[in-house]
């Protein structure tokens, strides 16, 4: 598809269904979006010591993220330089060498070829013929402990790419009494038969909860009051919160920035949701935060009310509730999402129990909430395959965006589809740029 044809797919307030359903376009996305953008791969706490590694994907590509003995983080393509087998099958671990199962080619944690059988059997050193070892991500960087990589040699720096969205990561980390967070508590891995964009377009969609989640809202409303501090409290509160009146959603803040990023804020607060503010664990947590930041500093951090932040094109996270989701595009109509929880270092263990309870109800594979989202993604994908109607309408709030600082727009209301239009504008930019 040429540039002009791609340009016609995304218009001011509508997008062509091919963007979600066309296999050749999907292949082009892997090259032009997932092959270029900074992708969030994980967090430094997953590779704390030399030799620590985990595997993940960049687009459809399997990669190994390692902590090399020199202390740097490396991102290696999980494909033997010899005959192409994956060299690492484990999800995580610690190793000094990666040995290919097929012919024993051996790499260090920087991806350099350090051994192979029968090295004399080549007309020049085998390492030279294969570029020294495993292919690598062209650029690796981190922000506040979150690891990113890009497969493209050139492009914006990570700081330029994140722009004002950095504040969401700052919020994530600043909430920790010790100023540090770590991945903990297991990874949910859920799949849906739909395009990768559907999940990113849903997370800041504030009109969907009343409809998609009608049944869990209804079921929670019929639940007799759950006593404060009980395990069920967080889950029930979250289901109820999805049923907030339209005024709440309309007054929610929705901001967009360059490269397709967006964030939602001024929606939830701790009174509505997580630990009741009078809970002893929360009092202890606040005191620990005040020891580092002072009373005003702690109040400022706790007063920041960010809900979902979207790091386009592969991540969505909740700084306030320590949840981070990485989106893996598998096929034009198949997507995998990995959902991680984070622990606030220096906070009471009870705070993390709340994070886990929250994770189970919003990201759990059998969650009363998430399962309805997945169902609707699949119905959307099926609907979009209909050929009699080509356009997806994204007009809500169009023409009412409000400039709010350099490169930042705020939706005219919290129910605007500004975040989706912004993602598709970034999509078009990636897809039509020649390099």
């Amino acid at each position: 598809m040429n540039v002009q044809a791609i340009n016609e797919l995304v218009q001011a307030d509508r997008v062509h269904r091919a963007v979600y359903t066309d296999p050749p376009l999907f292949e082009l996305e892997l090259d032009r979006i997932f092959g270029r953008a900074w992708l969030l791969l994980g967090h430094e706490s997953q590779v704390r010591r030399a030799g620590d590694f985990f595997t993940t994907r960049m687009g459809r590509e399997s990669v190994i993220v390692t902590r090399h003995r020199d202390g740097t983080v490396r991102v290696l393509v999980n494909r033997c330089a010899h005959r192409g087998a994956r060299v690492c099958e484990a999800a995580e671990g610690n190793a000094t060498e990666l040995v290919c199962a097929y012919h024993g080619w051996t790499y260090d944690t920087a991806g350099c070829l350090v051994g192979l059988p029968l090295p004399g059997g080549y007309d020049r050193p085998a390492g030279e013929s294969v570029g020294g070892g495993l292919a690598r991500a062209a650029r690796v960087d981190s922000y506040r402990g979150f690891l990113f990589a890009s497969l493209a040699e050139r492009g914006p720096t990570l700081v330029e790419f994140l722009g004002p969205l950095r504040a969401s990561f700052d919020d994530f980390v600043e909430r920790a009494p010790d100023g540090e967070v770590e991945v903990a508590g297991g990874v949910f891995k859920h799949v849906y038969q739909g395009n990768w964009k559907l999940v990113l377009e849903n997370h800041n969609d504030t009109v969907h909860p009343a409809f998609v989640h009608a049944s869990s809202i209804w079921a929670a409303r019929r639940q007799p009051a759950v006593e404060s501090g009980a395990y069920a409290e967080i889950g029930v509160r979250q289901m109820l919160q999805n049923g907030a009146p339209w005024e709440v959603w309309e007054s929610t803040g929705l901001w967009t920035a360059g490269y397709g990023h967006s964030w939602m804020a001024d929606y939830h607060d701790d009174r509505r949701l997580v630990a009741a503010l009078d809970h002893p664990a929360f009092t202890e947590y606040r005191a620990a935060l005040e020891r580092r930041l002072g009373r005003d500093g702690a109040a400022r951090v706790l007063g920041e009310l960010r809900w979902n932040s979207i790091v386009y094109p592969n991540c969505s996270f909740m700084s306030q509730f320590r949840q981070l989701r990485i989106v893996h595009p598998i096929a034009v109509d198949r997507t995998v999402v990995h959902a991680y929880s984070f622990k606030l270092k220096g906070a009471p263990e009870r705070m993390f129990h709340d994070t886990i309870a929250f994770s189970n109800v919003v990201n759990g594979t059998a969650s009363p909430v998430l399962t309805d989202d997945l169902e609707v993604y699949e119905r959307t994908q099926e609907g979009l395959s209909a050929q009699r109607s080509d356009w997806v309408f994204l007009g809500r709030g169009h023409g009412h965006d409000v400039p709010d600082g350099a490169g930042v727009l705020r939706g005219g209301s919290g129910t605007s589809e500004i975040h989706i239009r912004n993602q598709l504008a970034a999509w078009l930019e990636y897809m039509t740029a020649e390099s």
Binding site: A184, G185, G186, V187, F188, K189, H190, V191, Y192, Q193, F211, V212, A214, S215, S216, W218, A219, A220, R222, Q223, V226, A230, Y231, A232, G235, V236, M239, V336, S341, E349, F352, H353, I356, A357, S359, N360, V361, N363, G364, T365, A366, P368, L370, T371, D372, L374, E375, V376, R379
Partner: protein, 162 residues
């Protein structure tokens, strides 16, 4: 425990497990919920050999309150992922009594569940542990743990009850 008593106990527990499976297969979810004690937990761990439901995420970790919400959700006409309710066959086998006393029975079993919904059939395999308590109303489930063999896999949404 004498062989004769053992046989009687096994029959009683087998009957209970088959009854429970039947309630699920027939969609009699309120009656199924009624089998649980008020302080019951219903747990599907995320990780193999997971020991802790509070510091590690679970595919399901419901106390009785959350389980009530989960069951009630099926009644809503716009429970998109649950209406129509999946049709299931729960095949319970390999039952072993781990421990038993006057207060209750700890029993392990294996479960093969065939689920059909929206033109799609899925098969689940799990090791199951019941902690049953003797109450004035008969045997009740105080804790049920279901270890899916593929709990750590990349999975589509799960709505059926195990």
């Amino acid at each position: 425990m004498s062989a004769a008593i053992d046989f009687e106990l096994r029959s009683e527990i087998e009957h209970f497990l088959y009854h429970e499976a039947g309630l699920l297969d027939q969609g009699r979810l309120d009656e199924w919920l009624g089998l649980f004690t008020d302080d019951a937990t219903y747990w599907i761990p995320l990780q193999a050999d997971q020991t802790d439901p509070l510091s590690t995420s679970s595919i399901v970790y419901d106390d009785r309150r959350l389980l009530e919400v989960r069951v009630r959700q099926f009644q809503h006409p716009r429970a998109h992922a649950r209406v129509p309710m999946p049709r299931t066959v729960h095949q319970v086998g390999n039952m072993q009594i781990v421990d038993a006393d006057a207060r209750g029975v700890h029993v392990s079993s294996s479960l093969v569940l065939v689920e059909y919904r929206r033109e799609r059939q899925r098969v689940w395999g799990a090791r199951v542990e019941h902690r049953l308590r003797r109450t004035g109303d008969g045997l009740r489930i105080a804790a049920k743990r279901i270890d899916l063999v593929n709990s750590e896999a990349e999975l589509d949404g799960i709505v059926c009850l195990f």
